[in-house]
């Protein structure tokens, strides 16, 4: 009980300071996008058959060495939808996200228990090649991380290592940059360094780079956290367009963003063990975004989305 109260008090202090900062940018958008989103969501709810699941996560546990980082995550990711992972810092959102393309394999001591199936295939099966997994499941990171190469080479790298023909590369690069809403800005300077672009352009380049290998899924780990509101809005628009062709999972700290862009939302939180003070992430609730934000089933979700974190 003492811990819980401490947590409340802490967030109570942060939230009033944080909300006014983001409100001026967020509220007009919300007013415009809100009703439109509702209509779309209502249509989907009316659909008799749910969208087919791309990922089926069953009782996932992730350990770093002996430390349990996330426990008991069960959820399904629907095809051609945007699934958002929200929750406070250190609740394991990113850890879970990185399980989908087996990026956690690269962290020494990381161990995954439970199952994640991708179209019914166990992603962590013995015969699964993580390199092939990552070709099908792309990833965009928190900080834009273009290679120190030309814009063209950044986008062409993925297709090249996937065995694309040299003669096709020009078309692939153009199409990926066009889909990432970047082509018009960079078509005259494809040979220049990607490091000279603005942060927002770099992030769109990273999205172009990810979709150039034609993955089925794009994982986005707080893709807008390093960007200003204008660049953020562009990425969010882009996600809506990409949704036609790709399944997207996005981790975000920004609840308004989750509300604006996603079809389904998973709310994670961290449980602090009273003895060891270790934080373990748990999935509190997973549902249609509209429901999470308007009528959540769990009190903790409600407290979080209304700004009263508990």
């Amino acid at each position: 009980m003492a811990d819980e109260n401490y947590g409340r008090a802490l967030v109570g202090e942060i939230a009033p300071g944080g909300t006014p900062l983001s409100m001026p940018n967020e509220s007009p958008d919300d007013a415009e996008l809100g009703p439109a989103d509702m209509v779309v969501l209502d249509d989907r709810v009316a659909e008799p058959a749910p969208a087919p699941a791309v990922f089926d996560v069953d009782d996932l546990h992730v350990y770093y060495g002996g430390y349990l980082a996330v426990r008991n995550v069960t959820l399904q990711v629907a095809r051609h939808q945007i699934t958002a992972f929200i929750g406070p810092s250190g609740c394991g959102k990113t850890t879970v996200l990185r399980c989908f393309d087996r990026m956690n394999d690269l962290i020494p001591g990381c161990r995954v228990e439970g199952t994640i199936t991708y179209h019914g295939v166990d992603l962590y099966g013995d015969d699964i090649d993580p390199v092939e997994v990552r070709k099908r499941i792309g990833m965009v990171f928190q900080k834009p991380n273009p290679f120190p190469k030309s814009i063209y080479d950044n986008v062409a790298f993925g297709p090249k290592i996937s065995g694309a023909k040299k003669s096709d590369l020009d078309d692939i690069v153009e199409s990926a940059l066009t889909k990432a809403a970047l082509w018009d800005e960079v078509k005259d300077r494809l040979g220049t360094s990607a490091m000279g672009m603005s942060g927002g352009q770099q992030q769109r380049l990273c999205i172009a780079r990810a979709i150039a290998v034609q993955p089925e899924v794009v994982l986005m780990d707080e893709p807008c956290s390093a960007l200003d509101p204008i660049a953020t809005a562009r990425i969010e628009d882009l996600m809506q367009e990409l949704k036609q062709d790709y399944t997207i999972i996005i981790v975000t700290h920004n609840m308004q963003q989750a509300g604006r862009v996603s079809d389904r939302t998973a709310f994670f939180t961290a449980e602090v063990s009273p003895e060891t003070e270790q934080r373990t992430g748990v999935l509190v609730e997973f549902d249609l975004t509209e429901k999470i934000f308007s009528n959540p089933s769990d009190e903790r979700t409600e407290n979080y989305v209304t700004g009263r974190f508990g």
Binding site: E132, F147, F157, S193, G196, R209
Partner: protein, 342 residues
Amino acid sequence: MPDRSADPETGARVSLLERRPGGGGNADLTGLRSSRGAGRGDAVFGWIALGAGITVLAVLGLIALSTTKEALPAFQQQGPSFVWSNDWNPNQGKFGALAFIYGTVLVSFIAILLSVPVSLGIALFTNEVAPRRLRRAITYVVDLLAAIPSVVYGLWGLLVLAPAIKPVYESIAGTVGSWPVLSAVLGGKPDGKSFMTAGIILAIMITPIITSLSREVIATVPAQQREAAMALGATRWEMIRASVIPWSRSGIVGAVMLGLGRAMGETIAAALVIGSSAQITLQVFDPGDAMPAYIANQFGEASGTFRSALIGLGVVLFAITIAVNLTARSVVTRFDLRTKGV
């Protein structure tokens, strides 16, 4: 205070501070102005650093000046053909040093050719592939190699490597026989003490330098860069090519340059195994000679113009080293400008 309000930056800060809600109109601004004692540490540090920088330049300049002065008699006697004539005969006052310059360049080239792939391989292996425990063991052994005195390498080369490797050279030369191109490089009359043996010894000597420096550079490649490549479905090797090498390229070139500098300047080890027979030939299994090795072998007995000519060899060596370094630096800078935009 009024005299400094003209400073636009300070002025702006003051007005901002005064407008701060709750700060009140009469904000305490005393701490803003630099007091007399503040920044003294910075000034002292600045002077010390400047002094150190100037010392390096001064030492370099004085070395260049004094050696050139000492070498002047030989340069004057021989003229510019010092660097392009192949006629070196101290008794007749002929100082055409081309064969020594050629030997130095060839041996260094062999050393770099052999050492760079091995060094980069070790650096990449320890950073990217090896498990932690093995990584530490390899690092330790490689660093230990750097601590062995060069005369030990030289003696080992002379007493162990040269006799052992001669049959290998002979077998290669025999196999190559009269093939075009290859027979011009790997044929000839193989000798245990040769360009190649000197190159091998130097390669072993510079490997720890290049390895440790490139290992340090490679360790600074951001994790995000590695993940960017891995997330696209890159294998480890593709990730190294896409992320690690471009990021650390300039540092690796710097490491190779330091290794090359060591190889070009190495005296005693090269002197023992190069064969001390100045000649210009493509046959790498033939004995040759190099500038530092020749200086080391001859300087004790030299006097007069001969001594001055030996110092002249040192000046030429110095100039070549600087030229190679500057060229490599400018190439790397241009490349970084193109790829990193910095």
